[in-house]
């Protein structure tokens, strides 16, 4: 049976419901309860994504109508993105389309969220980075993900003493760069462990190793992003000179999704520029 994925993003987490195109009343009710329970704990920004929905089940529409009403009462921002033509048709027919903010995809939403609301937002990329970073960094490094929620920013924080690498990201809907900044001590510890010999923080192995770690983390991220239908390509990683890295940090023309990771041996920042 064909299935569709409905993504619900809020705060620092996201939920994915995999449901049949013919949604049963029980399942719709279960989804509604889950969504409402999330609202109780949560945040001020809610985003519903319907990327893979071929059909827009009426039960889910009713669930949305009720939750929208609740959002309105509670003054919670409510947005929709990745709507299928069928979903748009339903909303238009019920005079709901004009009352909602609708975006082509969640990156478009994220861009606007940055302008309209400077509070921290998250749209799933942090989970991608979390999984990839935890998989890639050696187990002896205790990486904290507690305070590593991604947030959107313009420009990057000042990062002296970091080695940086960039991978160009190209696609029809998403263009920019994946960026990684790793503190020298972190790299020295990681490379010494990986190579089985002491490696200095300013060695060629550490500098090149940052590109290799970028390749592993963002190669994984690309696989996950493309599974969401983005169809992006990435280029071979390049080491950024300190001048280029600094220029990126202060460049306000771009939006960044930034995920900081702290460890017992230094810090690592994953970012996407778009």
């Amino acid at each position: 049976m064909k299935t569709s994925k409905y993504h619900f993003y809020w705060g620092a987490k996201n939920l994915t419901f995999v449901i049949d195109d013919k949604l049963s009343d029980e399942r719709a009710e279960q989804i509604e309860k889950t969504v409402l329970s999330v609202y109780e704990k949560a945040p001020k920004i809610i985003l519903f994504s319907f990327e893979r929905a071929k059909k827009f089940p009426p039960q889910l529409a009713q669930c949305l109508s009720r939750t929208m009403k609740l959002c309105s009462q509670e003054k919670i921002n409510f947005s929709l993105c990745n709507l299928s033509p069928d979903a748009k048709g339903f909303l238009r027919a019920n005079d709901l389309l004009g009352k909602l903010k609708v975006y082509d995809d969640y990156f478009a939403w994220a861009k606007e969220a940055l302008v309209s609301d400077s509070q921290r937002v998250n749209f799933g990329l942090s989970e991608i980075f979390h999984k990839s970073v935890i998989e890639v960094v050696p187990s002896f490094l205790q990486v904290s993900i507690k305070d590593s929620h991604s947030f959107i920013t313009r420009g990057l924080p000042e990062q002296g003493g970091y080695i940086a690498s960039s991978m160009e990201l190209r696609g029809k809907r998403l263009n920019g760069n994946f960026l990684i900044y790793i503190q020298g001590n972190f790299m020295s510890a990681a490379m010494s462990e990986l190579l089985g010999e002491p490696v200095g923080a300013d060695s060629a192995e550490c500098i090149e190793g940052v590109s290799e770690i970028a390749n592993m983390i963002f190669g994984n991220a690309k696989t996950i992003i493309n599974a969401e239908g983005f169809n992006v390509q990435i280029e071979i990683p390049k080491i950024l000179t300190p001048e280029k890295a600094k220029a990126l940090q202060v460049n306000r023309a771009y939006n960044f999704v930034l995920s900081p990771f702290r460890s017992n041996l230094g810090n690592l920042y994953c970012a996407m520029r778009f």
């Binding site: 998989e135 890639v136 490379m191 990986l194 190579l195 089985g196 060629a204 192995e205 090149e208 190793g209 590109s211 290799e212 390749n215 592993m216 963002f218 190669g219 994984n220 690309k222 696989t223 493309n226 599974a227 071979i236």
Partner: protein
């Protein structure tokens, strides 16, 4: 069990990755290792080395000639068409795995990996090629 005197070619544009693969191979007892920086250099080495390499372990994304291009070139050459070949990559999209399988790859390893994973993959390959077994 895999033979420990195998002559292995490691192909990766990153020196550190070549070192990491070498370290993993040495941990499992393999020490006859040669390195190449890209597919083109590897292809020239394969053609010009006698006796032949027993196995190639190659990265996918490299400048000049990628790992998949190297694999296709070797499979198209009657002398090296049956050379055991492992691809190593950070990406694992379905279409890439399919492309590698169609090109005739013997094993596919996703980075990051451990010496243990590499050993398991090598033993899988050795099951297909008796000359690699002890």
């Amino acid at each position: 069990m895999i033979k420990t005197d195998l002559n292995i070619l490691i192909v990766d544009d990153m020196l550190t990755m070549r070192k990491i693969v070498s370290k993993c191979l040495k941990e499992i007892g393999l020490s006859a290792l040669t390195e190449a920086k890209n597919g083109k250099e590897a292809f020239d080495l394969v053609k010009g080395t006698s006796p032949k390499f027993d196995l190639v372990i190659s990265d996918w994304n490299m400048p000049e000639m990628t790992g998949i291009e190297l694999l296709k070139s070797l499979r198209a050459d009657a002398d090296f068409a049956k050379m055991p070949f492992l691809l190593v990559t950070a990406e694992s999209e379905q279409h890439q795995i399919l492309e590698a399988a169609k090109a005739g790859v013997d094993a596919y390893i996703t980075k990051p990996f451990t010496a243990e994973t590499l050993k398991v993959k090598l033993e899988e390959v050795a099951e297909k090629y008796t000359q690699l077994k002890q």
